[in-house]
């Protein structure tokens, strides 16, 4: 069984997933960060492969992507770095990034490379549902890779049902329609939206992301979903200083 499905089978709540950009802050930090995060209590990892034009991201993740690209990161190097991933890390790992680098690598090659290094799933925000279904779904399923779709407060119920039917792994609930790095909206409207999704009793587990930066916002996410995803706040926290200490210091807020 895919490690993502295994995780959600064993753990129903309080799941903490951390996003970070591969090759940042140092080009060679990708595996060290994964190890440190697992040790500090992360349940799942989302490793971002950088793209030159990340439209869904705010300034922090954009800057980390640029720094990583400038240092020489690309998909070939990332898969090379991830060769020893499964010798050191046992929690589920997803790759997250934009569709064009995947297209250039070749969708089939990309999926095979993921499986070879032990990656369990992908989040490609600008790969539309229609294109996924028509062109990529079979390749993903043949390789036992989860493809994660996003849902926003504006996504219609009909479309959420369709996403649920097509999803494998979990559904990524955006706390608001926003680029990454905004603060979690704690208004009634957000609560109503989270409750509405919870009441739909979807067949897939859900994780809330975008805007989670503190214990308080993480707990709120866990109230309405199986867990929360932290990205920008973590990327910011490891920008400077000793990497291991920064990671441990950051994770103490949550674990």
């Amino acid at each position: 069984m895919n490690r993502i499905n295994q995780l959600f089978k064993e753990k129903k709540n309080n799941i903490l997933s951390i996003y970070y950009t591969a090759g940042y802050p140092g080009l060679g930090d990708t595996i060290a960060i994964a190890e440190a995060l697992q040790e500090a209590g992360a349940d799942m990892l989302e490793i971002g492969f950088p793209y030159s034009d990340p439209v869904a991201d705010g300034p922090v993740i954009q800057a980390s992507s640029k720094q990583s690209l400038d240092s020489g990161m690309d998909l070939n190097l990332l898969f090379e770095q991830l060769k020893d991933l499964r010798k050191k890390v046992s929690i589920p790992v997803l790759l997250m990034g934009y569709v064009n680098p995947v297209l250039q690598y070749g969708v089939e090659n990309f999926c095979k490379a993921c499986v070879e290094v032990g990656v369990d799933g992908c989040i490609v925000p600008d790969l539309p549902m229609y294109e996924y279904e028509e062109l990529y779904k079979d390749v993903f399923l043949d390789n036992d890779l989860c493809n994660i779709f996003l849902v926003t407060p504006q996504t219609s119920e009909e479309r959420i049902r369709k996403i649920d039917a097509l999803s494998n792994g979990f559904i990524y609930l955006l706390s608001s329609s926003a680029t990454t790095g905004k603060n979690l909206d704690v208004s009634d409207a957000t609560t109503t939206y989270f409750s509405r999704i919870a009441a739909m009793e979807l067949s897939n587990p859900t994780m809330i992301g975008f805007g989670i930066s503190s214990k308080e916002t993480f707990d709120k996410a866990c109230k309405y979903a199986n867990g929360g995803i932290i990205g920008t706040a973590f990327v910011k926290a490891i920008a400077e200083g000793n990497l291991k200490e920064s990671i441990d210091g950051f994770m103490k807020n949550f674990r």
Binding site: Y51, S52, D53, P54, V55, A56, G58, P59, Q62, K66, L69, D74, L75, N76, Y98, V99, N100, P101, V102, L103, Q104, Y105, P125, D126, L127, P128, Y130, E131, F149, L150, V151, T152, Q154, T155, S156, R159, L174, S177, A178, T179, K182
Partner: protein, 393 residues
């Protein structure tokens, strides 16, 4: 062969809507409504009236006699440079602002490179009293100061795009980010035939007035609405798509799209997308774009800010791949020379973008009887500094 968009939003292998879920409701709202709104009789009446009385259409089709003599053909210039605000861009912004009103939007955003689309957007926002925010690369703000001033005087807020290379592609990214963060009340007026479906089709429809008029004017002036050649420059490709639109299905009419070679296609400073690019996804559609082997978007170069874009619209990619249109490129140097030549022979200072199309005449062979239409997409006022510096005037 179908050269237009299909029901899935594709032109052959190109197009689609590669957008994050956050943009889906906005783009879907547009997709479901754009054709109904555009085809509505009242909309058409208002759109046509504004094009006539506010923009100054129809723009003349001018037989440039001295240029014709030089090249041994009948060279007709479609004078989009005479439009209000000085370029073809206003055809699209008039259409989209009316459409935004029908959708109940209160706030308009747009990206701009040289500032022509920004000015055209700020203009229609002033005309209709809507809030206007223009994203422009930090680098472009510095080199296009007069257009920044125009936008500000027209009441727009100009926001500097400081990410990436700080030029047009980054301004486009910032506008998309704004739209993600303001999904309900905002309409994004994309300035070219790029972006997720239905933008390429919608912008092409609004610009198609160029070829619609050209056919009528050619019939009046030559007795035939069928020219031998139609030429237009391509950055994203909106003036070219408007110029080609009503000729696309008439395969006897040869279509030539002129890209910017910059300092030369192999110089590393070029924007010749079909020559240097590969298939991929940029700004929401599958098309041809300049990129690294890893799929990172490459920064283009052209002396003309309006052609300084690393991709082309998906319909252009389709016309290129099917060879319905020929794609060629012209260097910075060649375009500036062609701009000066037109000025001297005809008393018209063209935008450097349009000068790329004119420069290709130099490379064609004519027998004296051909009718050739060149889209003069904009006027050269904005480029005076570049012309002056280059020629030491």
């Amino acid at each position: 062969m179908n050269y237009f968009v299909n029901e899935k939003g594709y032109y052959g292998d190109f197009g689609g809507a590669y957008i994050p879920e956050m943009l889906y409701p906005n783009v879907e709202e547009l997709r479901q409504n754009y054709l109904n709104i555009i085809n509505d009789a009242d909309f058409q009446k208002e759109f046509r009236a504004l094009l006539k009385d506010y923009v100054g259409r129809p723009s003349p089709l001018y037989l440039a006699k001295r240029l014709s003599k030089k090249y041994n053909a009948n060279i007709f210039l479609k004078r989009e440079d005479l439009n209000h605000t000085g370029a073809h861009k206003i055809n699209n912004t008039i259409g989209q602002i009316l459409l935004a009103e029908k959708l109940g939007k209160k706030r308009i955003i747009a990206e701009t490179g040289a500032g022509q689309h920004g000015v055209a957007t700020a203009t229609v926002c002033a005309l209709r009293g809507l809030e206007c925010v223009i994203y422009m690369g930090e680098v472009d703000i510095k080199r296009q100061a007069p257009n920044v001033a125009r936008m500000k005087m027209l009441g727009a807020t100009v926001i500097s795009a400081v990410s990436g290379s700080k030029t047009l592609k980054d301004a486009t990214n910032e506008a998309m980010r704004d739209w993600i963060n303001n999904p309900v009340d905002t309409h994004y007026i994309i300035g070219s035939v790029v972006g997720p479906h239905p933008y390429p089709d919608m912008v092409a429809i609004f610009q198609s007035v160029i070829s619609e008029e050209t056919k009528k004017q050619l019939l009046e002036q030559t007795g035939s609405d069928q020219p031998d050649y139609v030429l237009a420059c391509v950055g994203g490709g909106s003036n070219a798509m408007g110029m080609f639109y009503h000729f696309i299905e008439d395969e006897k009419v040869k279509l030539i799209a002129i890209e910017a070679a910059g300092k030369g296609v192999s110089s590393g400073f070029s924007a010749a997308t079909t020559y240097l690019g590969k298939e991929g996804v940029l700004h929401g559609s599958r098309s041809i774009l300049m990129q690294t082997a890893d799929g990172q978007v490459v920064e283009p170069h052209s002396v003309s800010a309006g052609l300084d874009y690393p991709g082309i619209g998906p319909q252009h990619a389709h016309l290129f791949k099917t060879t319905r249109a020929e794609y060629v490129s012209i260097t910075d140097e060649e375009s500036l020379d062609a701009g000066l030549l037109l000025t001297k022979l005809e008393g018209i200072i063209p935008a450097i973008e349009s000068a790329h199309a004119l420069a290709h005449l130099e490379k064609m062979k004519f027998t004296g009887n051909e009718n050739v239409v060149v889209c003069l997409s904009g006027r050269g006022d904005k480029d005076m500094e570049t012309y002056m510096n280059h020629f030491g005037l």
